[in-house]
């Protein structure tokens, strides 16, 4: 794969150069760029795209060039005779030629494409693969790790999968309500999440770090704020993260009042915190809320002030999110925020 790619890159370096220059100059560090692939499916698509750009770019130069030449060379001039130009009605040979050449190009493009379709879509799942089930909700993501018994939301943690010790992640995708689409451009193309329908995809990020994406299928009012973060951890980090996620929610004595508020108000109807009476499934699991960098599917940073304001009036950040304003008084707000802040 590596050598093939290099060969191809050299061959089409010219076509790529201007293209990548333009886009890389414009892109910044946190850009979810399809041009900076970091996982096998994304890489394969990127390589294929370079090949396709080279061919279509060639076609553009030839056909566009002919068109430009025709326009320049055959422009009407003052010196033209008053008669009409020679009328030419067609030529079977020429037309046959420009039917056959496109057919040949289509054959080449199709074969190159088919190879990648089967390579990505029908890739066998190795035994070491991590399984994740992703469930789309209006307007957030639920992630379940069936092997580990872990449930989390909006921020997916997966292990890095270097070439010497591959550990890809295989996702099953479905939806609890309307259609959504899971898209982390640097890791793979998008796959839709559809209720009553299980889709699959896989990613094997080669480098640790944070990869950004968002829902790519219009899913209603706050579709734009259905952001997605994938943390690619080292194996140690990932194991530690899983271990922590498997713990029930912390129960610190000084936060007991807040927990009581949580359990006696409507919060528990929609949210779950393992080890408590709260087992709701309509909203994100909050057992380890403080391990997440953002709230409301990336709508804002996870700070105590934001959290308190979110509980008080979700409309401030994400008007149309299905979480209602909880109508708590200031004291209850402080207590429940303090409790949630302990859920590490």
């Amino acid at each position: 794969m590596q050598t093939k790619r290099d060969g191809r890159l050299i061959r089409f370096a010219g076509a790529v150069l201007c293209f990548s220059l333009t886009t890389s100059v414009l892109a910044q560090g946190t850009t979810p760029s399809t041009l900076a692939p970091a996982s096998t499916p994304a890489h394969q698509v990127y390589d294929l795209s370079i090949f396709v750009i080279a061919i279509t770019g060639g076609i553009f130069l030839v056909v566009g060039g002919l068109l430009a030449i025709a326009l320049y060379k055959f422009r009407a001039r003052k010196s033209d005779p008053m008669t009409e130009p020679a009328q030419i009605y067609g030529s079977t040979q020429i037309e046959l030629a420009w039917t056959v050449i496109p057919v040949l190009i289509v054959v080449v493009l199709f074969l190159a494409t088919a190879r990648i379709i089967f390579a990505i879509q029908d890739a066998p799942k190795p035994a070491v693969a991590v399984d994740v089930t992703a469930i789309g909700h209006q307007f957030w993501w639920e992630f379940r790790y069936p092997k580990y018994g872990v449930v989390t939301a909006n921020e997916l943690h997966i292990p890095v999968s270097p070439d010497f010790a591959p550990k890809p992640t295989f996702l099953k995708l479905t939806s609890a309500d309307v259609n959504h689409s899971f898209w982390i451009p640097q890791l793979a193309g998008k796959t839709d999440l559809i209720a009553n329908h299980i889709n699959t995809m896989w990613i094997d990020p080669k480098k640790e770090g944070l990869y950004i994406g968002q829902c790519a299928q219009f899913c209603g009012l706050q579709h734009a704020m259905m952001l997605l973060r994938v943390y690619v951890d080292t194996p140690d980090q990932f194991d530690a993260w899983i271990k922590n996620q498997q713990q029930p929610g912390r129960q610190e004595a000084q936060a007991a009042v807040g927990r009581k508020v949580f359990e006696t108000q409507a919060c528990m109807n929609c949210h779950a915190i393992s080890g408590t009476a709260a087992t709701g499934r309509f909203g994100p699991d909050l057992t380890h809320l403080m391990n997440r960098a953002t709230l409301a599917s990336g709508a804002m940073d996870n700070t105590p002030q934001n959290l308190r304001q979110w509980i008080r009036a979700p409309d401030t950040f994400k008007r149309g999110a299905l979480m209602p304003a909880m109508q708590l008084n200031d004291e209850q707000l402080d207590q429940v925020t303090a409790y949630l802040e302990t859920l590490k």
Binding site: L26, T30, T31, P32, S33, Q44, L48, T56, I59, G64, L66, L67, A70, L71, F74, R75, A76, E84, P85, Q87, I88, Y89, G90, S91, I94, E95, W98, T99, P102, L109, T113, A114, I116, I117, F118, Q121, Q138, D177, V178, N179, W183, G189, K190, T191, D192, I194, N196, H197, N199, I212, Q214, C215, A216, Q217, F218, G220, L221, H223, G298, G320
Partner: protein, 564 residues
Amino acid sequence: MSEYSLPVREAVDSALSETTRGTFLENLHAWVVTVDHKRLGILYILYSTFFLLVAGAEALLIRLQLAYPHNQVLSAQVYNRFFTMHGTTMVFLVGMPFLFGFANYIVPLQIGTRDMAFPRLNAFSFWLTAFGGFLLYYSFLGGGGLYGVGNAPDVGWFAYAPLTARSFSPGHATDYWALALIVSGFGTLGTAVNIIATIVSMRCKGMTLMRMPLFTWLLLIVSMLTLVTITPLTAAQFMLLIDRYLGGHFFDTQAGGSSLIWIHFFWIFGHPEVYVLVLPAFAIANEIIPVFCRKAIFGYPAMVAASVAIMFVSLGVWAHHMFTVGMTSVSNAFFTLSTMLVGVPTGIKIFNWIATLWGGRIRFTTPMLFCIGFLFQFLIAGLTGIMLSVSPWDWQLHNSYFVIAHFHYVLVGAIVFCIFAAIYFWYPKATGKLMDETLGKWHFWLFTIGFHITFDTMHFLGLLGMPRSIYTYQPDRGWNFLNLVVSIGGLIQGIAVLIFAYNFIRSYSRGKIAGDDPWDAWTLEWTTSSPPPVYNFEEIPEVHSRRPLWDLKHPDDPDWEYEA
């Protein structure tokens, strides 16, 4: 060159002058009850020009909102309504009526007949289409139903189920959307039937199928395609309404229904719909390019064959909108191949247009400039279409701004450019006045520059991972500058369209007198006066070749000696 005309006309025309002017109300009444194909054609075109301005304004507001990250010009709700209405309007209330308007006006003239086959069906179809549009826009006032004040559809123009279910779309906005498309869909079907009947049965003496002007040929193909494609859309809308009000479960996933059924139905309509819109654009280019390079179209039989091929192939490519819904690898490969194959007949067309230009004497009038813009932009649109047909790459590009850029290259860069070309080209026929060339060139250059600033840039936003249908974006994504550029381009296009609107209105009273045949063209519509009389032709003409006026103007060297 208006000294050329069919000799029969002079004999009768002056005797039948009908220039008695009524009061305003009488005139208005005459327009409302008209069954004249030319008046209905003009009504269609005015109607779609009006909605072009409306949907254009929506687009500008969308771009204003997206000019900066976290901008708050529009709320999420209003933004979602605007992009839904923009898409629905442009496809159903602008694209189709524009093209049917031209078909109505031009086809009977080109085939040498006095009206459409079913004049009253024609009027009925127009008013169905028109009221469909007004029904859709009435949703801004009435769509909230019992749930509140103003509302409009906010489910996206392809309205994927189950987002359209009553649990996710309360109120009546979605009902207005479905009903409006059903109503205007029936209008569209009526017109399509009418065009087919007219072309099949009302051609003048000597006009065999292979002597029909390509414009007429392509409209015949489009009308047949329309019959096949509007039907599943209408069926799907009925299913949606049954789901919403009669307890159906076609798309109700909570009750075991399937979202995929809607998606299939929609794109079985939706993809051929693209060709329903773009083939008339080809049709327009087929008429204008030969006239302004002074040559017969190159490879007429190949152009006809390619158009028929596009019709058939376009019925087998719909699932390329569905590469991400989780089809099997074999299905993905199949639809990749079928989609790529569309490129072959389309390529033939582009080559034939270039060959037509080759050896000609090209006059860069405003309609020709728009056609040249069309050729370049359609070439690019075709190539980005090939990129999107590559299904693995489509997994990345689908629903991103790359797709938005691609289909605007088709819908604006090809179709709207050809619509503008057609308006500049046939305006003198319909009004007797030429549109102003200087303003026309301002319009062309500003619009082209704005178009490229906007839509070229959008491709890169898509590659950088920006999805469509989002009312705002995070400032750290690297999309800020490009979005601002896109919005500025939109503004330039808006200014260009205003120049066009001014030119359109001003030329009606102050334009230069056009004469019967201002472009020295070759098809039958240019033998009539400008505007043509109600009955079009005093005596039904007889033709001997594809270019009856060429034969007339060059009796020593007529076309029929060369045509195969």
